[in-house]
């Protein structure tokens, strides 16, 4: 057989033992929370789709104030299947953020961040931030009205940080205002800087996951009192299930992209008012909605400065949770951190829903 001959040929030249060992040894624990193990792989799959469709889009896209909108229009109307490629890129981005959130919060609630997996968690949170930045930077590239104002507000929020804010804002915008220079800059960030960072951190993340194996929730561990758990081999049992999920997702993506092609909207016009009902991408809506409720002044401080600081502290808490949660590091139950996690999820869900149902006009 060809495969055997090729492996033999390779084996003569390089040592395939680590790969073989990995394939034979990797197992997935089977218990009532096993279903959550699928979401990391799903995020990875969608990321692969983003890379592929993103590369295709670079072939026609032009990152400048004069040409960005027109080039996306060209992709959508003139390039064969251009609408499909762009639509899949947009839909897949959104699904990827969703899968990543489910992955991150399931890991949190199962306390898989606890010793010895602190670094896996930290790399994961860094990837979380990068993916959100991917979404934010990609949103501007079509240079339409919504993306223009989203970027204006988003970069202005970065500008609210004490001391470094103004510099940060100019760095992001590539000047004092959101202009064509911002498009070029976001393009560079979106297709070069973030992918490079992602590659490095993702490699570390996956390496750590393979090195340490799958974490089992402490509650399951305790229930088994040291008895070995049931497990299924990763290859082929779990991988086939993964593949099945990916296949279904691919179908779903194609259907979404074909039935609801991603809209292009109106070209950005810095001299038009912000349109009524303006709203960021759904994964930023909870922050956006919170900003609406924070009053202009809280004591001597501007409300939005405090809001921005609050969200940064929340992010910092999530980043450092393995080092704060001393109890689960020892394998003991840690209800406080569980409740905080549920609280954060509830906050995000409630404010997201509010963002869609609360009336837009006062």
């Amino acid at each position: 057989m060809a495969v055997v001959r090729i492996t033999a040929w390779l084996e003569e030249r390089i040592d395939l033992w680590p790969i073989r060992h990995f394939i034979q040894k990797k197992v997935i624990p089977v218990h009532r929370h096993s279903v959550w193990y699928y979401f990391g792989g799903m995020t990875l799959f969608l990321f692969a789709i983003q890379v592929a469709t993103g590369i295709l889009l670079t072939l026609y896209y032009r990152p400048s104030g004069e040409e960005a909108y027109e080039s996306v229009q060209f992709i959508m109307t003139d390039v064969q299947f251009g609408w499909l490629v762009r639509s899949i890129h947009s839909w897949s981005a959104n699904l990827m953020v969703l899968m990543m959130m489910i992955h991150a919060f399931s890991v949190y609630l199962m306390q898989a961040y606890r010793k010895p997996r602190e670094l896996t968690w930290v790399t994961g949170m860094l990837l979380f931030g990068i993916v959100l930045f991917f979404g934010f930077s990609g949103y501007l590239l079509p240079w339409n009205v919504l993306s223009y104002f989203a970027t204006k507000v988003g970069t202005e929020i970065a500008g609210q940080f004490p001391l470094v804010g103004h510099l940060l804002m100019r760095l992001l915008r590539g000047g004092d205002e959101v202009t064509g220079a911002t498009v070029s800059r976001f393009y560079g960030i979106h297709i070069a800087i973030l992918p490079a960072l992602t590659t490095a951190i993702l490699a570390l993340h996956l390496f750590l996951v393979q090195k340490q194996g799958m974490s089992v929730p402490p509650s399951v561990e305790r229930a088994h009192r040291g008895q070995p758990l049931r497990a299924m081999p990763f290859v082929p049992n779990f991988l086939l299930r993964d593949l099945f999920g990916w296949f279904v997702t691919l179908g779903l993506l194609a259907a979404l992209a074909a039935l609801f092609p991603w809209e292009l909207g109106q070209k950005a016009d810095p001299f038009a008012p912000a349109p009524a009902g303006i709203r960021p991408e759904w994964y930023f809506v909870f922050m956006f909605q919170s900003l609406k409720y924070i009053p202009a002044k809280i004591g001597p401080f501007d409300g939005e400065v405090l809001g921005v600081l609050g969200f940064s502290l929340g992010g910092l808490f999530l980043l450092l949770v393995p080092f704060l949660d001393k109890k689960s590091a020892l394998g003991e139950p840690s209800p406080l951190f569980r409740r905080i996690g549920i609280g954060i999820i509830a906050y995000i869900v409630i404010f997201t829903v509010l963002g869609y149902v609360a009336p837009a006009v006062p």
């Binding site: 915008r173 609406k292 006062p362």
Partner: protein, 151 residues
């Protein structure tokens, strides 16, 4: 005693080498990253010096109870004609997070759609998150021409 002194000399020499190596590496990194960091900071563009703009509309064209956005240097401004016939001009940049505001005929106020900020017709922030009033611009009407100035 002699051996001990030699040892001290060796120690001293090694520390010297370490220090030299360390600091030259430091200098190398700084000399690489300094220009990169500076490169990333966008240059300041010279602001045009004219601070007055003649609006593209004639006074007679403007209806009472209406608002229009105009280009004031590189930023949007808003011109409002109140239902009483008064003219007012402000920077149209919301003081909250910089969205562009609009005049609402139905409620006769100035509204920012981004986070529901509302200003009255003196530019004062009256509800929602904006922390400061809109920046007022000076108006000068010469015949049928409207001229807007900063001041």
């Amino acid at each position: 005693m002699v051996v001990h002194e030699q040892g001290e000399q060796v120690d001293h020499g090694r520390r010297m080498v370490n220090w030299l190596l360390g600091s030259s590496l430091g200098v190398l990194f700084v000399s690489i990253f300094y220009p990169i960091v500076k490169y990333l900071i966008p240059p300041k563009l010279a602001e045009p010096t004219t601070v007055s703009v003649t609006l593209p509309w004639k006074l007679a064209e403007l209806k009472a109870n209406s608002g229009r956005i105009f280009r004031f240097k590189s930023l949007p401004g808003i011109l409002v004609k109140t239902s009483g016939g008064d003219l007012r001009a402000f920077s149209a940049v919301c003081t909250h997070l910089q969205c562009t505001v609009q005049y609402r005929e139905d409620r006769q106020d100035i509204w920012c759609a981004c986070h529901n900020g509302v200003y009255d017709l003196n530019g004062k922030n009256i509800s929602g998150p904006p922390p400061r009033p809109l920046e007022a611009l000076k108006l000068n009407v010469r015949g049928d021409q409207i001229i807007v100035m900063k001041g």
